[in-house]
Symmetry: C2
Subunit: 374 residues, 2 copies
């Protein structure tokens, strides 16, 4: 988390502990602070503050979309992609069990959805299109603007899970013709446990969580004041420093890709080479197991991941890489490295050095050793 974010949150633990629904001064202060944070969140995506619904995170935002749109009787057909996060795929599966029809669009080898496929699949029964902004594993950015135009023309509600992209690249909901957009605070150096859903004015949605009627009845429960303040600050910092941050991270990312491809043979960069969020790099090191790589990197002080952190628990092969047509060998040899604004060039050098060493160690005992003559 950014230091400034933590500093801005702490007074809301210590002195400003009011419940925003209370009418006394502690309540009024908390209410005003939330409104200020809401403005900062809205500003990051060029939305109006009344279009920002505060939630407990990206997963709740996504669930709100599927629950909230499905019960509006607009139709029973949903179009999504085969490379969405489980926070989209699992609600889709639930709706299928309830009688909805869900189209899971294929992707190409770069993980890109084809907007023409969407256009073809839209029927009079289609109530929702949900395509993620940037993929959480391989980092590919989808053609959101093209999809937004199709959805707008066909009058179908369009949702994008922008959790991975937000704060990393400029996003303008008006320009992109997006109706619903999910955001998460902790993906942009804000606190965990808070997120938002952008709901374009005029889009009707049912609440997922009912009760005291907070958030205009769309999300009940006492507001998570301090975290919302922190989220607001993180959005402001992301907006103010977008260009410098992007430049810094992109430079580090390019260096990392260049050095790894130069130093380590039998290695490929996955996802699209240009259409990708600057903070994500994703490789396949043939003959080296990704899980083993993570453990060896961890021993050397480098925190990495194979795919989505959210699915390591179940140890299943990545559905994203499968959809991209990867073989079992390619999938098991994959590694995701994510950069932050606080990373340095020195850390990149160190990472390349360590990776080169550990990939070599693993390949020396690999079942694929003879195949490649490592």
């Amino acid at each position: 988390m950014h230091k400034e974010v933590i500093e801005e949150m702490i007074p809301y633990f210590r002195e400003q502990y009011g419940n925003p629904s209370s009418i006394h001064k502690y309540g009024r202060f908390a209410r005003m602070a939330i409104q200020n944070a809401r403005k900062r969140i809205a500003s990051l995506i060029n939305a109006d503050d009344v279009e920002i619904l505060l939630t407990s995170g990206g997963t709740e935002s996504n669930n709100t979309v599927f629950y909230g749109i499905a019960h509006q009787n607009r139709g029973k057909h949903i179009i999504t992609s085969s490379i969405e996060h489980d926070a989209v795929l699992e609600p889709c599966k639930r709706l299928e069990a309830e009688g909805f029809q869900v189209t899971y669009l294929p992707v190409d080898k770069y993980s890109l959805v084809n907007p023409e496929d969407i256009e073809k699949e839209i029927s009079s029964d289609t109530c929702l299109i949900s395509i993620m902004f940037a993929n959480n594993e391989v980092g590919t950015i989808q053609p959101i603007k093209e999809i937004g135009e199709i959805a707008d023309e066909k009058k179908v509600t369009f949702h994008t899970d922008a959790v991975q992209a937000i704060g990393k690249i400029p996003i303008d909901v008006k320009e992109l013709k997006v109706d619903l957009l999910s955001l998460s605070s902790h993906k942009m150096n804000g606190p965990k446990g808070v997120g938002a859903l952008y709901i374009r004015k005029g889009v009707k949605i049912d609440p997922l969580i009912l009760g005291g009627g907070q958030e205009n009845g769309l999300r009940s429960g006492t507001e998570n004041v301090a975290s919302i303040i922190g989220f607001g600050k993180a959005c402001q910092l992301a907006k103010d420093n977008m260009i410098q941050n992007q430049e810094h991270v992109r430079k580090l990312g390019k260096k990392l890709v260049f050095e790894i491809l130069k130093e380590i043979p039998y290695t490929t960069l996955n996802g699209h080479s240009e259409k990708r969020i600057p903070n994500n790099v994703h490789f396949t090191f043939l003959g080296a197991n990704g899980e083993d790589l993570i453990i060896k990197l961890d021993e050397n002080g480098i925190a990495a991941s194979t795919g989505s952190a959210c699915s390591v628990r179940v140890q299943k092969a990545s559905h994203v890489l499968k959809a991209m047509g990867f073989s079992h060998e390619q999938i098991t040899g994959s590694l995701r490295l994510t950069l932050g604004v606080l990373n340095t060039e020195k850390e990149i050098d160190e990472t390349v050095k360590v990776l080169k060493k550990v990939v070599k160690e693993l390949r020396a005992v690999s079942p694929y050793k003879e195949k490649y003559n490592f």
Copy 2:
């Protein structure tokens, strides 16, 4: 919030920012810390740690119960009371719209539910009994043990919204034969935005929020690590200091009630005189408007509430006081004062002095002035 709670949270903002699902050391550290917090939460109510589901707060816990039990096909009849929090009543209304039958039991003038009424209403179609532990407006503690015995005998799942009672009085889920119990962190000097649902081993429930499969698939979304740690610490402090805290708050409460009834005529204490949580006092000051009282108290540095903070926004007359048989005049003249462990005797003296003065001022211009000859 307790100072110790804030101190225990801060490292999870600064250094220990890992995602508990990650396999690297930052992830493992966060995962272990959450397990430790879970044990502390469980310990407060004599549950096992595997029985604690972490949520974003009491409202989500309650919503999880209604969504999660309703879709288990055990029956379509629910028994609850007419004085529940909106976080129970609103999910009930949604289920009614979906074809469920909900029995809203009446209460007596003290706000007490009669366990015999519950027994009478149970049918083979009853899938859930949900009765709050202590009322959020008048503080009355319900006969949870008696209800638990009935539910156990009749094999009906029993939920209690214990948000108001938790940390204030000892609660033992095993002794009380409760199946599901909702907790909230911020009601016990912990952070906002985090809560839990106790789910007794063997009770099947569907998840409300789907995705990456955190919390054994019962609540997806990256865990709100720092807040969970704070919640755990708040539970540990509540447990360790239960007796002293109870004694301190009860003493202050008794003094407040005694002085107010002595100093201010035409005043009644609402709710049960003995069966109440120690931190809540609730009065009717005939001829004085509760909303005006709050504003005048606020001007004098005293933060109070009429009923539930969660419903002030809509300015509706309290459904709790209505169910207790209060007249319109009694309802509008009502005020809730809530005490905390950090309140002092001096603050009680000051509150009584201020209340006496402002009630007198309001009664001097009251439409009921002549009726009572104030």
